[in-house]
């Protein structure tokens, strides 16, 4: 009994002790996609200003849910909310950083970046219609590549994810059959294949499974040295994934502040644009004026000082023009 009382006392002391510093914390939650870059920025920012920006990657869906319920200071999502919805839930939305989703393959004898796919063959593979790598549809675009007659194993994300949202949005946009049979979303019912948890799970499966194809966020493809491929974009050119092709996709995007910047960068126009790029968004509750200013201060700092860190982590910082638009949006909404 005495020990229990002692423990309660000790706890009470601890808690009263810490109450003073609680004010310097900002809680954010949401997308897993930008987690590495947000946490790196938050770490630097904490060192400079003492502000603790606690960002927890619980998934884009969780980010939307939490901010709608006003339980966090900001939410994050790769799945931009529609203007009507923003209006309804009294939210503000702006992009923070851009990344790309890349299909990755494990195919003996095929070098990284060698294989070229157009959207209809990629879609055919994922729908289970193309069962072997030496299918005519694939061969057509790859006359010089020696394709083995081995079976295709599709690897997808089994957890709800913004990566899947961006990827399936691209497929729905370019492939009517996909739109009809599967659709787009953070978690969809894939017709064939095996499911890996998280980007790492998918990377892991692709690495182990001969003849497999999966999709991951570019950072994970690079870190795990997975074989990427070239995709045909909306201008009919085959492009390699990378900073420049992501940046080109971002540059063609016409983000409209009036619509809360809601925009998909998938299947973007432009000669050299990567077709499966996407921005990740920050969501703020309109009525939380006090904390919003602090959050905006953080992102303003990140826009000015965080580009190198983002590039280091294989993310594409927002183009200069877009940053200016976002800053104007903050000012217009009285956040800065």
């Amino acid at each position: 009994m005495k020990t229990a009382v002692g423990i309660i006392l000790a706890l009470a002391i601890c808690i009263s002790f810490t109450r003073a510093q609680a004010a310097e914390t900002l809680n954010g939650a949401g997308a897993t996609f930008p987690y590495p870059v947000y946490s790196a920025w938050a770490y630097e920012y904490n060192k400079i200003t003492g502000m603790k920006l606690n960002y927890q990657s619980i998934g884009s869906g969780g980010g939307v849910r939490q901010v709608t319920e006003r339980t966090v200071d900001f939410g994050a999502s790769d799945d931009p909310m529609k203007p009507e919805q923003l209006q309804k839930d009294k939210l503000l939305q702006f992009p923070a950083v851009i990344g790309g989703v890349v299909p990755v393959i494990n195919l003996a004898g095929v070098k990284p970046g060698e294989l070229r796919l157009d959207s209809s063959s990629l879609c055919g593979i994922l729908l289970g219609e193309i069962k072997f790598w030496d299918d005519e549809k694939i061969k057509k675009n790859n006359p010089s590549v020696k394709l083995p007659h081995s079976g295709v194993t599709v690897v997808y994300r089994s957890d709800g994810s913004g990566t899947t949202a961006i990827f399936t949005h691209y497929l729905s946009e370019t492939c009517p059959a996909w739109k009809e049979k599967v659709g787009a979303g953070k978690a969809v019912k894939f017709p064939v294949g095996i499911g890996g948890k998280g980007n790492e799970g998918v990377a892991n499966y692709v690495k182990r499974t001969a003849g497999s194809i999966g999709y991951v966020e570019f950072a994970y493809a690079k870190q795990n040295k997975l074989g990427h491929l070239q995709l045909k974009n909306s201008s009919g050119n085959f492009v390699e994934p990378g900073f420049t092709s992501f940046e080109d996709a971002a540059a063609t995007g016409d983000f409209d502040p009036k619509k809360g910047f809601a925009l998909w960068l998938t299947n973007a126009p432009g000669n050299n644009s990567w077709p499966i790029a996407g921005a990740t968004f920050i969501l703020l509750a309109k009525d939380k004026a006090e904390s919003n200013k602090k959050v905006v201060k953080f992102f303003d700092w990140a826009f000015k000082n965080g580009d190198n860190k983002a590039k280091e982590l294989v993310y594409v910082p927002l183009p200069k023009a877009l940053k200016e638009k976002v800053t104007a949006y903050w000012k217009a909404n009285g956040l800065q």
């Binding site: 423990i7 808690i15 914390t25 795990n224």
Partner: protein, 279 residues
């Protein structure tokens, strides 16, 4: 072959299988513990305990926030769970001794001990996290306390039942009220047993992950505020081991080493006390 030989051969084979099975059990223990020890020890640095996490993907940093968070949650769970468990066990062994209600509750408590802990996590999410509007250290502590209570309750009940009834009668004869008898005589007699139960129940909940996922959540910074999301070792291990960074994997191993060591020590301590007291 004679019948005798066949019987002997059958016996030999069966007994050899049993010996092998025991060897296999030992093999797993050595394999798992050895693996945790080797990987964990390598990543064990002072920085692990003294500094907070570095940003994802970069080297360095530690898990100070998770160690402190784990300690706070476990302590708070103990502070809630132990009094309720001990008092509840007292009712079953003393006031309700021999009554039907005591038997029903102790059977239910036995079932509660093995109820999936993730279900308790969803339960606490619905009653504490959602209405309050935020994840909190307290929610995690309550979830662990609910797992703890039936364990403490059952051991207390058993230990109090072992105290001879004549001891109570002697105290009654002196005119002492029942509650005084319980507190001053019965508890004293069963103290080591109850303490063992408490130690083992702490060992049980200290390694729980599933009930914390949706309750105490996680925090990448150092925090001792139980009203806010707070980091714990087990949830951090889950996040780090699933993550793609080698640095995270190393720290997950180190955290695994510390928590396993702590829990095994508690378990051994509990066993030693039992053996010392009851043999």
């Amino acid at each position: 072959m004679t019948r005798e030989l066949i019987r002997k051969a059958e016996g030999f084979v069966a007994l050899a299988f049993c010996t092998l099975a025991a060897g296999l059990g030992l093999f797993w223990l050595v394999f798992i513990l050895g693996d945790v020890l080797i990987h964990g020890f390598r990543a064990l640095t002072p920085a692990l305990f003294l500094s907070d996490p570095a940003p994802a993907g970069s080297d360095g940093g530690g898990l100070r926030n998770a160690f402190v968070g784990q300690l706070l949650i476990t302590l708070a769970a103990t502070a809630i769970g132990v009094p309720v468990g001990v008092l509840g066990g007292t009712f079953l062994a003393e006031y309700a001794r021999g009554r039907k209600i005591a038997r029903i509750i102790s059977v239910l408590a036995d079932i509660m001990v093995s109820v999936p802990s993730i279900v308790i996590g969803t339960f606490i999410y619905a009653i504490l996290v959602k209405p309050a509007g935020h994840f909190s250290g307290w929610a995690g502590a309550v979830a662990l306390a609910i797992i703890m209570i039936p364990v403490v309750l059952r051991t207390t009940e058993n230990m109090l039942s072992l105290v001879p009834w004549s001891l109570r009668e002697a105290a009654f004869a002196l005119g002492a009220p029942y509650y005084k008898v319980i507190i001053q005589i019965v508890y004293r007699g069963a103290a080591t047993g109850i303490l063992t139960g408490i130690i083992l129940s702490i060992a049980r909940v200290a390694g729980e992950t599933a009930p914390l996922l949706f309750t105490s959540f996680n925090n990448s910074f150092f925090s001792m505020n139980m009203k806010q999301p707070i980091s714990s070792l087990t949830v951090t291990i889950f996040q780090y081991a699933m993550g793609p960074y080698d640095n995270w994997h190393a720290q997950a191993w180190a955290a695994a080493f510390v928590i396993t060591f702590f829990i095994l020590m508690l378990t051994l301590l509990g066993r030693v006390i039992i053996r010392w007291r009851y043999k």
